[in-house]
């Protein structure tokens, strides 16, 4: 393992010097990467950390020379692999380098594997291209690689197609493909972002082990400071196309010199941060002075034995039984409180959220403010709808791109026939101010805003009917950490002032811990553990909950635990 001090004793494997990249747009060139320089030592893991738009991916694509030619161009700088400058290489020479000297793995293992080719074919391809040899020897190496990435039954996997493997297995195959020609440099672009937290822990552990075995230098690109802390020897923090700070992991986390790095690390929610408290932190001055007493007794949301079945249908040939996505879920939620619904993908947490609002068919009992939803028509449901609103994961996708945000925020009032035109305009302005935007942006369209602003707009829309309950489905998952912290604070503030109840659905344990009063852990369509946040996080009863909590990367290099224990 390399030293942690950050200085490089041996000659670097890869050195990037003054790399500058312009984006070509209709309105002229725009700088997206500005004089970025860093070195990568042999066997070292360098993390490129930063928020969206910071230039991390552009940097890695520049190294691979895979920038889309029509829109991005390297203006100046050098990328030296050993003593070869990659910026000067032709496409043919570059093809030799890719896969053999520099290999890459991507975020989404399903889309970066070809769905109609067997794993074996795809795994053999780079070996045959770069090392030649016959099919039998390539096959033998492919099997060794699958073994190295700890895939069971490697011989059978070679005959399988990508959809037959789980997400974690697919990412293992991608890693096997990338390492099969023993590249000098491995670039991993958000390799675990699309994976569940327990799977992420396994993949990170594997990457560490492989690093010892293959000695590959790695550039790990991630937005997740927890992953950075777990994996990095050195960290390069990027912002707006510049390298803000570079140093050893310990230095960056414990002695950051730049304000931006400090802010970035401070914004990361840490699991265990709320240990010893019962609820989320107070945000407003009033709430700080006088914590909300438990007031209302009637639950805003009551759910009993909720079941949702997917894919069931009656056809000519009898009834086809569906798959039970939610299997007998019960919980209740009171005003001014937050129930965190946490689980991995496929656990049924989002389905539960949608069923609660009557957006998908379900069985069981759901009552909002004492009124049972079941079998209400669209019209009869409207008054109930006013009480319960939803905030989605992707704020851009949940706003109509062809409608101004003023119209979008006013629309719920229009649907429910509240107020006249001027009333609605006043309310839109008030709501925009409420969520921290200025009223004059009402005539703009969603694409003109940043991700955080869009989520604020979605919150404003949800608030326009003065609801009692908000279902927030992964509402901050698509946001950068610094923005995420602010949106969460806004949600807490609104809860304190408006007495909102949140059903807060997330896969992120740290966010759940920060926001919730009570927590329900879901797995396989069932609630496996349900209790106060304090009880669930501090004394988890179920093994599954303990595993979930243990798998969360901690943004502190001195507390590395994933690779060590697994």
């Amino acid at each position: 393992m390399t030293d942690m001090s950050g200085d490089i004793r041996t000659a670097p494997v890869l050195s990037v010097d003054g790399l500058t990249v312009d984006a070509l747009t209709d309105r002229g060139a725009k700088r997206v990467l500005d004089a970025v320089s860093f070195c990568l030592a042999a066997g070292e893991t360098l993390c490129l950390a930063g928020e969206s738009g910071s230039g991390k991916s552009v940097t890695s694509l520049s190294v691979m020379r895979l920038l889309p030619r029509a829109s991005l161009r390297i203006v100046s700088g050098s990328i030296k692999l050993g003593d070869r400058d990659l910026t000067g290489l032709g496409e043919r020479a570059m093809r030799e380098v890719r896969g053999r000297d520099v290999a890459m793995i991507f975020q989404e293992p399903m889309t970066s594997l070809n769905p109609v080719m067997t794993i074996g074919k795809q795994l053999l391809e780079p070996i045959l291209i770069h090392q030649g040899g016959n099919e039998a020897s390539a096959r033998a190496q492919a099997l060794r690689m699958l073994d190295a990435v700890q895939i069971t039954e490697p011989a059978r996997r070679l005959r399988q197609y990508p959809h037959e493997l789980s997400g974690g297995m697919r990412q293992r195959v991608m890693i096997a493909m990338a390492l099969s020609c023993r590249p000098k440099v491995l670039i991993a672009d958000e390799p675990t972002t699309a994976l569940d937290v327990t799977v992420q822990a396994q993949i990170l552990k594997l990457m560490r082990e492989l690093k010892g075995e293959f000695g590959t230098s790695t550039i790990l690109i991630t937005h997740d400071m927890g992953v950075v802390a777990e994996m990095a020897d050195r960290v390069a923090v990027m912002k707006d196309g510049r390298l803000v700070e570079i140093g050893s992991a310990v230095d960056i986390f414990e002695r950051p010199t730049e304000t931006y790095t400090r802010e970035l690390i401070a914004a990361v929610p840490r699991i265990g941060a709320r240990t010893g408290t019962d609820g989320p932190p107070a945000v407003t001055a009033e709430a700080k002075a006088a914590p909300l007493a438990e007031k209302s007794l009637e639950p805003v949301l009551a759910v009993q034995n909720l079941k949702v079945t997917y894919g069931a249908r009656a056809s000519l040939f009898g009834r086809k039984a569906g798959q039970l996505a939610v299997d007998g879920v019960s919980f209740e939620l009171r005003a001014g409180r937050t129930l965190g619904l946490v689980g991995e993908s496929g656990s049924g947490k989002s389905t539960t959220g949608k069923a609660v609002l009557g957006l998908i068919p379900y069985e069981g009992y759901v009552a909002i403010d004492g009124e049972e939803l079941m079998d209400l028509s669209v019209r009869a449901m409207r008054p109930v709808r006013r009480l319960a609103q939803m905030i989605f994961q992707d704020p851009y996708a949940s706003l109509d791109s062809r409608m101004t945000i003023g119209a979008a925020i006013a629309e719920p009032m229009l649907i429910h026939g509240i107020g006249d035109r001027t009333d609605r305009a006043d309310r839109v302005a008030e709501l925009l101010r409420r969520v921290g935007l200025t009223p004059d942006v009402a005539s703009r369209y969603p694409h003109e805003f940043s991700g955080g602003q869009r989520q604020r707009i979605c919150i404003a829309r949800a608030l326009s009917l003065k609801p009692k309950l908000i279902v927030a489905d992964e509402s901050v998952a698509a946001l950068d950490v610094s923005v995420r912290a602010k949106v969460l604070d806004l949600m807490l503030e609104l809860q304190e002032t408006e007495g909102l109840a949140y059903l807060f659905i997330s896969h992120d344990m740290a966010v759940i811990e920060r926001m919730s009063h009570d927590v329900a852990v879901m797995n396989g369509g069932r609630i496996v553990e349900y209790g106060s946040r304090r009880a669930v996080f501090e004394n988890p009863e179920e093994d599954y909950t303990r595993r979930l909590i243990a798998a969360v990367p901690i943004p502190d290099p001195s507390q590395r635990h994933l690779a060590m224990t697994g």
């Binding site: 791109s401 062809r402 694409h447």
Partner: protein, 282 residues
């Protein structure tokens, strides 16, 4: 105002608009500006051997095999072809949009029934259908336009259906439903605007194929009846003389091409200008 300003900034769109306007004016003013009558068989319109005359001073675009002036017939033919192109194609796009959107939004048994009907229409040979319809109703310009619309809406419906199915899965539609929006509001305020680019592309691209389908029908005798000229039937009447009198095919061909292209340029520009996401970011 903004639309006009943006439009004028695009040279190709302005070119398209000018050509479209010229064709429309030419068609409207045909009786005033045409040098001859459209069905007049001119004595000096044929050579002594009875062959048509190529472009010269008296006949700017030449004459056809019956000695009629081609320029005159093109001007009058523009009336027919524009009506067919705009009305027939517009109707086809409107029907296709309606059926596709309804089927894509409803899904389930009703949506399936609509789409199976569409597939049936698609599987039916378009020409045969047109011939049957045209034989049932005595062919007139409007009947021909409706026959063409009946045949051409199918492809539009198919594409709109697929797009609508994708749209209704999107989060913002789910968001609307969670707000309590009714079906009408979702379909007309949120689905339809997103289908406009498709409608505009079909509305302009389809004009050329529509004009040609009308020509085919005319050729088979179930389209616009001679001697009334349309660009299509001018080509079809004369195609066997292509080697000896090429102008009879080339000029109407250019007219169809240029008109279709111009509609397309205008449509493209409108699609971009009307799309708010194409405008600058904050």
């Amino acid at each position: 105002m903004r639309i006009a300003r943006e439009f004028l900034r695009r040279p190709t769109a302005v070119f398209g608009l000018i050509v479209v306007l010229l064709v429309v004016i030419g068609a409207l003013a045909a009786p005033l500006i045409a040098p001859y009558a459209p069905d007049e068989q001119l004595f000096d319109g044929l050579t002594l051997e009875g062959a048509p005359i190529g472009p010269d001073a008296a006949f700017l675009l030449g004459t056809d095999t019956l000695g009629r002036d081609l320029l005159t017939r093109l001007l009058f033919g523009a009336r027919t072809s524009l009506i067919i192109g705009v009305v027939a194609n517009g109707t086809a796009v409107a029907i296709g949009l309606g059926v596709g959107m309804l089927a894509g939004y409803l899904r389930g048994p009703a949506g399936n029934a609509l789409m199976r009907f569409t597939d049936l229409m698609m599987a039916f040979p378009a020409l045969l259908l047109a011939i049957v319809l045209a034989a049932l109703f005595h062919p007139s310009l409007w009947i021909v336009a409706m026959v063409i619309a009946m045949v051409n809406w199918v492809q539009v419906a198919r594409i709109v259906y697929t797009e609508t199915r994708g749209l209704v899965e999107r989060d913002f539609i789910l968001a609307e439903r969670s707000l309590g929006a009714g079906h009408g509001r979702i379909v007309f305020r949120h689905v339809l605007p997103h289908l406009m680019p498709t409608a505009i592309v079909w509305g302009t691209l389809g004009i050329a194929t529509t004009v040609l389908l009308e020509a085919t029908l005319s050729f088979l005798g179930v389209g616009v009846q001679p001697p009334e000229p349309s660009w299509g039937n001018i080509i079809f009447e004369s195609q066997s003389f292509f080697t000896s009198a090429p102008w009879l095919v080339i000029f109407p061909g250019i007219a169809i091409l240029l008109t279709a292209l111009s509609f397309n340029l205008v449509g493209d520009a409108l699609r971009d200008i009307l799309d708010p996401t194409q405008r600058g970011r904050m």
